[in-house]
Symmetry: C2
DNA sequence: TTCCAACTTGACACTGTGTAAAGTTGATGG
DNA sequence: CCATCAACTTTACACAGTGTCAAGTTGGAA
């Protein structure tokens, strides 16, 4: 799969993470990451054949370290559908800022890079899955609004919780993170329940 | 402002529009547009110093031809705040598909091109202005939900009506255009009124 | 000692943008 | 009828960043 020393690989992933988190994603070149990792530019290509491969590996690396699955797991234990919805929004909403840098990089990279698009879509499918589960829980409790079919409710929640919406509210509108989470919960309730 | 024959300029704008509308925006190179317009690549640079300038000019060209202002004007004549909200969502919502190709191109171009970002932000500010007006009309009628301050309500509506949300629902979720407009109206009402 | 994996060094092909400079063409005016 | 000029073409090239290639170097295991 990947040749080379795993330690070096990790140093590269770490450097890439730092580089992406701090500053313009598109402006982080392979050479920059290499320098930051203290290896030659070619060493990067030795471990990751293309820029995209590196990016994708970084997202997986972060996911592992930040433990997304564990966080989202918490929301599964909620007793009522409404609580589950809240827990999910909180878990995902507070996860976004942690991955924002890399997410934006991946998003930017989609342009002219199908692999980056795939990696992103993959992440988004995971979020959608969580939305679906939350909606199902609501439905089970009989709390799902009649205005929506179950699928449509999932669509709506998924749209609402998109990374782009987070960016817009957070930076375009200047909402503090806490407000974002609180309001998202309120909006989701309004839209999905009666 | 721009040297060269206005007819040629228009042929270029027209070609660029067609090129962007049909197919991957990032993959439309200056040379492609030139070929489509039946002029040399350099003629493009003669009329538009940079790719971004061309893009921005295309958006303005489209706006003029499609008459955005006229469309949005209609929403100003609504009698009640609620009707005004509906009219605005309908006007904007049905305008999006007409500019989707170029909008996506501009959005993609933001990466590493501040001017493209400015052009896009400018458009979005115009939409926000419309949102603000609709919210004001609701407030005036006393129909604005107590859950939101006026500014916050504008933020919410603006987020809801974002181009990205349209893309996600339209293509990510497969909603027909008509459903998008209908549901958006319903969601806006739910979120903004009691 | 030999050998190998991991890495470095330096050169280079490729793509697309944007620049530069010299040539063509057709209309306008003296 | 010629000069001129604007608009455009043609050709060439600089530049940036990605990715490739081939020839070293180095430290440790067999």
């Amino acid at each position: 799969m990947s040749s080379g020393n795993p330690e070096t690989r990790q140093r590269i992933l770490d450097a890439a993470w730092r580089a992406l988190e701090s500053g313009d994603a598109k402006k982080t070149r392979m050479g920059d990451i290499a320098k930051l990792a203290g290896v030659s530019r070619q060493a990067l290509y030795l471990h990751f054949p293309a820029r995209t491969d590196l990016l994708v590996a970084v997202t997986q690396y972060i996911d592992r370290i930040k433990d997304v699955d564990g966080r989202l797991e918490k929301s599964r234990n909620a007793s009522s559908g409404g609580e589950r919805l809240d827990a999910f929004i909180e878990a995902w909403g507070d996860y976004i800022p942690e991955i924002a840098g890399v997410a934006r990089a991946l998003l930017d990279m989609r342009v002219g890079d199908p692999d980056a698009g795939m990696a992103w879509d993959d992440r988004m499918r995971a979020v959608r899955h969580g939305c679906d589960a939350a909606v199902k829980a609501l439905k089970k409790d009989g709390d799902l609004s009649n205005d929506h079919t179950q699928a449509q409710a999932t669509d709506v929640l998924w749209m609402l919780l998109s990374f782009e919406n987070w960016e817009r509210l957070r930076f375009g509108c200047g909402w503090p993170q806490k407000k974002y989470v609180t309001e998202m919960k309120a909006m989701a309730r309004r839209l999905l329940t009666d």
